[in-house]
Subunit: 207 residues, 4 copies
């Protein structure tokens, strides 16, 4: 048992260190942006040598991927929390969509991260099919409450899926616009447009 316990403790310590590195990476990302988040910079922020990170992650891309993974986890938690507080299908739909929007509105670097790695999916090899499939899965699961609520409202599966895609698209489009400052061209506020969009969708489903 003591040996076993030692092993378990070692694993826990290892897990902790991994997380400390990821936290450091997040900080670098937030402060320096995509371009500045080199492995060197992350290692330094974490108090490590670049070489040391390779004991915890296979490559820089793997580290990034894990960062995105955690980001998506946080996103899902955020959406789920909002949904759980709602008490009607309509409200669940609205809250899920708005929680999604707000999550990225508040931490724009997470959006950058998503764009960066999502784009990777286009390349022939991508980040590996497994990783790509996993990202898709996470995304689908996160947005699922929207489809669920729609179905509760009597909508067909097909239509529910469209709603998910539309909501995702509108939110990310508006966030992009807001995030790059371009939205000022139109003299409007992204959050307000998002609310309107969601209300319109609901109106259409329930009319």
């Amino acid at each position: 048992m003591p040996a076993e316990g030692g092993t378990r403790r070692k694993k826990a310590v290892s897990e902790l260190k991994r997380q400390l590195i990821l936290d450091a990476a997040r900080r670098v990302f937030e402060n320096e942006g995509l371009e500045g988040a080199s492995l060197r910079a992350i290692a330094q922020e974490a108090g490590y040598t670049p070489a040391a990170l390779y004991f915890h992650f296979d490559s820089r891309e793997a580290l990034y991927a894990e960062l995105l993974s955690q980001s998506l986890e946080a996103l899902k938690a955020s959406v789920d929390r909002a949904v759980s507080k709602a008490d009607s299908p309509v409200d669940r739909l609205r809250q899920a969509a708005l929680a999604f929007f707000r999550f990225y509105e508040r931490s724009p670097r997470d959006l950058d991260l998503g764009f960066y790695l999502f784009r990777g999916g286009m390349t022939p090899e991508g980040l590996g099919r497994d990783r790509d499939a996993e990202l898709n899965q996470r995304l689908a699961v996160t947005l699922q409450p929207i489809a669920d609520a729609a179905i509760e409202l009597g909508v067909e599966m097909d239509q529910a899926r469209r709603l998910m895609a539309d909501t995702f698209a509108h939110a990310t489009g508006l966030l992009l616009l807001a995030h790059t400052g371009r939205i000022r061209i139109f003299g409007v506020a992204a959050a307000e447009l998002m609310r309107n969009f969601v209300d319109d969708q609901i109106a259409r489903l329930t009319e």
Copy 2:
């Protein structure tokens, strides 16, 4: 006349070479993506030494900017062409929005290019305020037909601007989804969703 003609011919040749370099840059962009489009790579594709490009462009960023500029020009031409063929405000609105969408649907690298340089606007200094302001201007002008058509339909200025922003956002969001292959998650087609979105907007304005 011979002297003049010589000068004129020289200018034309120079202009042509410039364009050949830009074409090479486009190809590199298409094949290698954002990261791979180094000055070296562009020069090689164009059959030049890196140093030679500096005779034609002030810097790598200047070359990129010109690439984007031409892309936006083509976008505007595409939208204008679609609008000119339409014969009613409703049709003009629809065709403008769909032309915008189709342009980027067909040449996804132009979307990347836009994202790349648009993002520059976020940095404190940006690529220079002038360039940033110019990008905004071009975008506003390109989407203007949408607002014009809406106003013809009796909509307030305020609402027309919202419509522009919403259309831009929805289109880019869907394109991002399509472009990265994520849209498959939802089992829907981006183009169809865009058409539906536009139709919904029109229905709302005209009901």
Copy 3:
């Protein structure tokens, strides 16, 4: 004769252009210093293409050499002027030494230029033996009034030559010290030290 006259005029024009380029080079040197005085920069200041300068000078080094040559000419003129105003051997000696010092005190870039090309003399090939010998000759001629005055005061040739070398060395040493700001370490003024040095030399010769 018209042909001849045309040739002469052509030569004069050519000479003038050469000089305009050299003037431009001086300005660049003064404003940008040694490092900044690239051929490109000089050409631009002169209103030419870099390539055009090659019709007027064999190489960048040749242009620099000519610049130094003119600088030494101006130095000699400055010394000669001072000497011609003096009315005794002692005064000639003093004025020659001080004029030399003041020339470089006032235009430190000329000193830089001298250092730069003088140093070239060390390299195996140098700027070519001819050029090197010419520089030596110019320097000797410029300082000759010091030796002449010393001889007038009854000093041996040998001693007179020592005096020239010492004066040159002390002046350039002080100028270097002044020019790099190091003289502040000692809390003294270069010009005053130079005056003292000259007075000491004179005292020794005449005592």
Copy 4:
């Protein structure tokens, strides 16, 4: 102890490698001169990739600065050694001045190095005020024995400082002359002139 020993040995090895790079840099400096001493060239001479040097030095300028630092250290040691062997104030003054001269007479590249980095002090920002101030400090400390000896001889502080500056100036002036071969113009020997200069100064102080 073994662990400690390992660390200590590692540090020693590291220090050694650093020094080997500096030695390589010195050689390049001696053979190729200022302009040729690029980071590439130094790395090659040391048997390294350019990138490897960045592990040992922060930048090319930092490497240069360390080279100069070691040179000044050697200079000071040389002067101190000479002074410690002298047994009277007059002798200390003479030996300090001549040791300074001889140091640079024997290794002219050290003089070049000094000129190169000293000149940095002229530029608005310099190599950083710290570095500049440090250079000044080292120089002052090195020449201090001259001032000390003069004060022992009953000279005022003010006059002692002048003597330091004059000695430095005369020595560097003569060295420049000798070093570039110009001194041949005057048919005299730099070392002899330096001895005479020092003797004259001593005569003046003690008469």
